[in-house]
């Protein structure tokens, strides 16, 4: 199963990267969601997959009896999920407030903080092709 999951995670990463490269900040954040999901799955994967044997010590027993799933990655994922949620929630609200104040969701149009030395149009100096600028 790990092999299947490895390919799935790869696909999730590919999808998330494509979203991360969007100009729309919301889509970018969707990419972040996908990415953190993929990473959590990676933690799960490297710890080894075990079907249907949760690491719970049965009532009346004092040790966990094999087979059991590796509990450590689970604990790590739990922490990672919660942390990821905190960061993401804040970022979402940040983007929302950004839209409220600046009036755009276009990551490439955020030019208040930098760089004012650059001519506004970018003058073709940027590495991103400019043909899509007019659409904004």
């Amino acid at each position: 199963m790990e092999i299947v999951l490895a390919f799935t995670v790869g696909a999730l990463v590919a999808g998330s990267v494509y979203l991360l490269l969007s100009r729309n900040l919301l889509r970018l954040l969707f990419g972040v969601i996908l990415l953190s999901n993929a990473v959590n799955l990676s933690i799960f994967l490297v710890g080894g997959l075990t079907f249907g044997a949760p690491p719970l010590i049965a009532e009346g027993r004092s040790v966990l009896e094999a087979p059991y799933a590796n509990p450590l990655p689970q604990a790590l994922i739990l922490t990672a999920i919660v942390i990821g949620f905190g960061l993401l929630a804040f970022s979402l609200v940040l983007v929302y407030r950004g839209h409220q104040e600046i009036g755009t969701l276009d990551g490439d149009a955020l030019r208040l903080a930098e760089p004012p030395e650059t001519p506004a149009a970018g003058g073709g100096a940027t590495a991103i092709p400019t043909q899509d600028r007019s659409a904004a």
Binding site: A38, V39, L76
Partner: protein, 511 residues
Amino acid sequence: MNWLVAAPILIPMATAALTGLAWRSVPLQRALTLAGMTALLLAAIALLLQVQHGRILVMQMGGWAAPFGITLVADMLTAIMVLVSALMALAVAVYSLGDIDPVRARTGFHPVFCALMVGVGGAFVTGDLFNMYVWFEVMLIGSFVLLALGGRKEQLDGAIKYACLNLVATAALLLAVALLYGVTGTLNMAELALRVRMVPNQGIVTTIAVLFIVAFGMKAAVFPLFFWLPAAYHTPAVAVQAIFAGLLTKVGVYALLRTFTLIFTGDTGWTHGGILMWIAGLTMLAGVLGSLAVRDLRRAWSWQVVAHIGYMIMGLALYTPLAVAGVVFYLVHDIVVKTNLFLGAGVVRRLGGSADYAGLGGLFKAAPLLAVLLFVPMASLAGFPPLSGFWSKLVLVQAGLEQQSWAIVAVALVTGLLTMALVGRVWAEVVWKPHPDGDIAGTAALPAGQRLALVAPLVLLSGITVAIGLYAQPVMDLSSRAAADLLSPEPYIRAILGEPPPPPVLVGELP
């Protein structure tokens, strides 16, 4: 059992909780923060005294022996970093008395500032890689909030870019930690040091190491992963800029320094001499050119943050005792100077009404004392002797020349020269040039309390810079010992795992 090891986390965290409880009262929050940061400083001093004779303090959290629980550990390097960051925290806390407006204070500046210090301290003292990830995240969310606190347009603009890029970095770091666990089965850094050598496939270890370079490198703002820094660092409140510039990227450097002396030492030709070396050179050049390209004091300093990260990476890349000592020294110097520069820029902006060179000037006439206080960190930044920056550069240059790494030394020197160009220009434009609006008021025009809060940190930090410059021996000595400890980590490992480490099993030679 020494609770001092946990102090860098527990003291600011308790302070954060208390200031959070006191969120209705700004004066109370301020008092609590000052008290907390003072306590942190005292604890840091005590910690340094404890480790100064080569002792390594270890605390197994919850009493669970390594590698099963989380280990906190303080060696010389940790103690130095904790002390310097505690000093900065106190300085910035004092500065914030005169800088943070009531609105920011009421909406959580103090607890979040303390939480940021929790993250910084945690990253320094932890001996567990996943735990380090956690503290990095604490630092990250703290920086997100502090960056956006106040909600001005350009702040939000910068914060959005900062957040988006750092979220990716964070994911990369977590992935790297997970992968390392996947090949070694442990998260304890001391045990990792032993176990990475036993992985049958050393190629995958190197790959993970490179992933760590990228992940930590992003935190450290190295080329070409620094975009978030110049995009955001100049936007928040001055106190926030200062603590960011002083500490955040350096934590990334610390993490690189720790992991790439303790854990990833199996393929130094590829990781250190190869990737890190290139990164170092390009970071220096990109940073310093960036600082010359802008016409705004805070942005110039932001770019300088990047440039000087390059020096530290260079030291790590050279990977000799002298070079690593140089990195430690550089860390100490750079943290103090960068904090000072941003604080100074804040006062300059307050007096001159702008951060743009064009809108500044007249300081030499209006505020000579301030000019002196600016001169010290600027000259130190440029590496003029006998200030702290000179020694750090000297050590790295010497280490590079010893290794006959001509190219990186040349880049370092050119970067130093361009930094001097920047400093000369800033001095001429900001300090010497008459202010475009005619004469401006000096610091005397500020209310007395505010003046004290704003200037006292500058005096303290400039004093440190001068002191280190004139008498570099103590810091250099500590740095050398820290470097020696880093390069022979057996005592560190033994202190944590409690038993003589088994002889490393080397699995074949690399192709």
